[in-house]
Symmetry: C2
Subunit: 481 residues, 2 copies
C-alpha cells in the first residue's frame, strides 16, 4: 500500500486548519509544511540522500516538530534520541544506527558527540533545492527508537509508514474522530507516545497542542475550557493532573473526550476521581515495537475490568503463548500491521517476529471476554516457594490504599522461600507497615504478601516513567541471588 | 499489510453492538457472524475452496448480508450481479468471471441460468466444518463488480481487501466517526455504493440500517427522529427525500450528520433546500474502480464551489491528464490504495493503471484550490463547430429552472455544426421550450444552447441511476453520425 506524502497531502487538503500550537503561537498545516520544506532543504544541503539516517537529539517544541517533519520530507530515517540519556548511551545509539548526521538542539549538542550539528548551525545553512517524494511506501522506515531494555544492549526498533499508519487508523476506529479534536502532547517526542501524536495529526488533520514540558496547571485549564479534547498521560502525570483539577475546582469541558493512559493499569480510585471530573480514561497497552497502542480499555469497562488493558485494537491480534484456556497466564504475543518489521544495527539480523508474532516478554492473561491483563514484565517475575508472584499485582493492591501515593515491589532473597516480595512505598499520608500488611492480607494470598516495607520519597523511573526495579534491588542490597 | 478477518475480529471486539437492522429486526455483530458462519459452511459444502469465485444474484435484505458475509468468511471472491440485468447480460458476467457457483435469491434464480442454486436450496444444505482464515491479505480479491460500460463488453473490476480498507478509512478521515453512527443503506448491495456501507460497518463497528428498497417516507422519519446519522443517495432519491421531508414538515435530527450524494453534481437549489432541513450534503466522485468515493465536497464548500466534486480523500491523488495550469480541462486520472489492481475474464490482461494512474475516461478540471470539477464522461462529449460542449453543464442549468424536474442532454446531428445539443425534459410544472431557451440563453454561450427540447414523462437510467444517453439518442432517431 502506497500513500501520498502525508505532509504535502495534508497541506493541500487542509491548508488553513491549525496543525500545531504552543503557548500563544499557532501554525496551520500549510505553515508547518512550509517550515518543514525549509528544514528538508537544509538537511539535504548536508549531503544526505533519501534513505539515509539522521539522529535527532531535540528539546521538545515547535522547532523540533519542524525538524522532524523536515527530515520526513527529505526522505530520511529518523533516529529519535532520548534527551535524558547519558553521553555514553547516546554514543552507542548513534554508532549502532550508523546515522549519517546528528542534529541536536543547541542546549543538548555538547553531549551528542563531536559530530553533532547544533540546530542553530543547521538553520543558518542555505536550503538545497530538491523535490520531496510524492508517495510514501508502506515499508519505508520512518523512525528508529531504542527500547529502554532492562538488561543488555538497547535495540533500535524500526517503525515504518505502515506501522504508524496502522496505529493511527486503529486508534480512530477505537476512539472516533471529529473535526474539533485537539490532542494535548506533553509526552517526549522521542518516545512513541509523543511521536504518534504527530503522526495522528497529519493523518487526521488534527491540531497538536504542544507542551515542551508537562505543565499540569495549563493542562488542567485547557481541559476545563475545552481548548483540548484528548490528552496522553502516564501514571505520574495523571496523578498531578487530577490533583490540580481538584485543587482548582475545575472540571473537564463537555468538549473533552478522552485521556489515554499508558504505562500500566490505573487504580480504580483514580478512575473514579477522573469520572467525577468528567474525564473518561482509556488505559492502553503498547510499546515501541507496536508503534503505540495495541490494546485499549474503554472508560465504561474500567471499573468492572479493573487492572485490564482492554481488548486489541481492530488491526491487532493478541494471544497468550501456550494458553490452553481463557485466564491461562503466559507471555503476551502480538500480531498486526502496527508491529515493527525488525531492528537496525547489532540486532538487524534478529527476527522481530516468530511465526508472525511479536514475543513481548510481558506476562499476561486474557479473560473469557477477550480482555487482556498485563501481569508483569517477565524479567520482574518473583518466584517464591514454587509459586509465581507478579509485582504489579501487589503494587495495584498497595495503590488502592488511601495513604499510598506510589508503590514498587521487587523480589528479595529469602532462605526459606528462595525469594519473597518487598515493597517500596511513597506515602501521601501517615501509615505504618502493619496497616499496609493487614490491608494486603485481606486482598492477597499469603505467599504474595510483602515481607518488607521501605518508605521513600520517590521511586526510580526511566524516561518513559517505567519503574526501574533493578535500582530498587540495588537499594535493598545487590541483585537477587 | 495483513489485517485480521474483519467479520471475526468485529464479533470479538464489539459482540453486542448492533450490526444490522431492517424494519423491526436487528442483529448484533455476534449474531451476524453466527449467521455468516452457517452460510460459509453451506457454501463450502458445495465443494468451493478458498479463492474460488461465487456469483451472487440477490434481492437486498438481511439474508443477502448474511450470504455476503458468509462468502467472505468462506474465503471466496464475490461476483456481485446486478439484479436489474437481463438474462443475457447475466450469462455474460457469470461466464466471464468463471464463477464456480451461482447463488440466487429464489425470486431471481430463473434468470440466473440453469446452474444457479436458489438461496432456499443453499439454506437447506448441511454446513461443512471448516476454519475461516484468521488473517486477510491486503491483495485478496473481495469483490468483482462489472462496470456498466457505455459501449462494448462490461469489464469485471476487482476490489481487494486493501481497496475496501483504504476507501473506508479515507472516508472516516474525511467525515469523522462516532460510536452512535448508523448508516441508512437503500442503495443496491451489488453496487459499490451499497457494498461499501457493509465494509464500513465491519471496520467501524457501525450499524447498517437496511432498506431493501428505497422508501422515502421511512427514510425521512428516521432522519428526523435521529435513528440514522448517515445516508447515501443519488440525485433521484435525494429529490424524493427532500420532497418528503418538506411535505411532512420534518427536519433532520441534531444527531443526523451527513448525506453522501453520488452520481454527479447536486444543483445549488437542492443544497439550499437540504441546508434548510438541517442536512449537510457531501457530494462525491467515485466509481467501481475506486471502491467508492475518491473525492468529496464538504457541505461548507457546496455553495461557493458549485458543481465541484470536492478535493481528493486523504489517500488519493487526482490530476488532469496533460493539464499545464489549474483550470485546464482533460481526462481525470486517479491514484491511491483504493484503486483497483485490475480486471478479470476477457480484460484480465489489460492493465488498470498506466504509470500508476487510473484513466477514468471522465473529463474534468481542477481549480487553484484543488477542487475537482467533473465536466462529463468522455463518451458523451458533444463537439459543435469545433467547440467542446459538455452535456452535464447544460443539464445543470436546465435543472435550475423552477419548472424542470429532470433534464438529459445529448448531441444531435447537424449539417452546419456537425453536432448540436438536444435536451429531454421531465417537467414539474407548465413550461414551454421558448421559456427554457431564454432561460439558458442568459446562462450559456450560444453554441451551448439546446436546439431541440423534447418533453417526456421520465428519462432512461441504468441500475446505478446514471442517465443512459444512448437511449435518448435512439429516441431522437439513431446514433449520431
Amino acid at each position: 500500500m502506497n500513500l501520498p506524502n502525508w505532509i504535502l497531502q495534508r497541506a493541500d487538503l487542509s491548508p488553513n486548519r491549525t496543525a500545531l500550537s504552543c503557548g500563544e503561537e499557532r501554525w496551520t498545516f500549510r505553515e508547518v509544511a512550509g517550515e518543514a520544506k525549509q528544514m528538508a532543504g537544509k538537511l539535504r544541503s548536508l549531503g544526505m540522500k533519501e534513505g539515509d539516517r539522521v539522529a535527532l537529539l531535540l528539546e521538545s517544541g515547535p522547532r523540533a516538530v519542524f525538524l522532524i517533519h523536515g527530515a520526513l520530507l527529505a526522505g530520511l530515517e529518523l533516529v529519535m534520541l532520548n534527551s535524558r540519556l547519558t553521553e555514553a548511551e547516546l554514543a552507542y545509539q548513534i554508532a549502532d544506527s550508523a546515522a549519517v548526521s546528528v542534529i541536536a538542539s543547541d542546549g543538548l549538542a555538547a553531549k551528542a558527540g563531536v559530530r553533532a550539528i547544533p540546530a542553530s548551525r543547521l538553520a543558518a545553512l542555505e536550503a538545497a533545492a530538491f523535490t520531496p517524494a510524492s508517495v510514501w511506501a508502506e515499508d519505508r522506515t520512518v523512525t528508529i527508537m531504542y527500547t529502554s531494555g532492562t538488561t543488555g544492549f538497547p535495540k533500535g526498533v524500526r517503525q515504518t509508514v505502515g506501522n504508524h499508519f496502522a496505529s493511527a487508523m486503529a486508534s480512530v476506529l477505537n476512539m472516533g474522530l471529529a473535526e474539533e479534536d485537539v490532542w494535548l502532547c506533553s509526552m517526549p517526542l522521542f518516545h512513541i507516545s509523543g511521536f504518534s501524536i504527530l503522526m495522528r495529526s497529519l493523518l487526521y488533520g488534527m491540531e497538536v497542542r504542544l507542551q515542551p514540558k508537562f505543565d499540569e496547571t495549563a493542562a488542567a485549564r485547557e481541559i476545563a475550557d475545552g481548548s483540548v479534547t484528548r490528552i496522553s498521560v502516564v501514571s505520574a502525570t495523571l496523578a498531578r493532573l487530577l490533583n490540580r483539577l481538584e485543587e482548582e475546582g475545575l472540571r473537564a469541558s463537555d468538549r473533552f473526550k478522552t485521556m489515554l493512559a499508558g504505562g500500566g493499569p490505573v487504580p480504580v480510585p483514580y478512575i473514579r476521581r477522573a469520572q467525577a471530573l468528567g474525564i473518561p480514561i482509556l488505559q492502553t497497552y503498547g510499546m515501541t515495537e507496536t508503534a503505540s497502542q495495541t490494546a485499549t480499555l474503554s472508560a465504561e469497562d474500567a471499573v468492572h475490568k479493573e487492572g485490564s488493558s482492554g481488548r486489541p485494537l481492530f488491526f491487532s491480534r493478541i494471544r497468550i503463548d501456550g494458553a490452553k484456556a481463557p485466564g491461562d497466564e503466559g507471555e503476551i504475543l502480538v500480531s498486526g500491521p502496527n508491529v515493527t518489521p525488525g531492528y537496525v544495527g547489532r540486532f538487524a539480523e534478529r527476527a522481530a517476529l516468530q511465526d508472525g508474532w511479536l514475543h513481548t516478554g510481558d506476562i499476561g492473561r486474557i479473560d473469557k471476554e477477550g480482555f487482556l491483563y498485563v501481569l508483569d514484565r517477565r524479567s520482574d517475575l518473583i518466584v517464591s516457594g514454587g509459586e509465581n508472584v507478579y509485582p504489579a499485582e501487589i503494587e495495584q493492591v498497595l495503590l488502592a490504599h488511601p495513604s499510598v501515593m506510589e508503590a514498587g515491589v521487587i523480589g528479595m532473597a529469602d532462605e526459606q522461600w528462595g525469594e519473597v516480595p518487598a515493597a517500596f512505598i511513597v506515602a501521601k499520608s501517615a501509615v505504618t507497615d502493619e496497616e499496609l500488611r493487614d490491608f494486603c492480607a485481606e486482598r492477597l494470598a499469603p505467599y504474595k504478601l510483602p515481607k518488607k516495607f521501605t518508605f521513600t520519597g520517590s521511586l526510580p523511573r526511566n524516561a518513559s516513567n517505567k519503574l526501574l526495579r533493578r535500582q530498587l534491588k540495588e537499594q535493598l542490597g545487590g541483585p537477587k541471588p
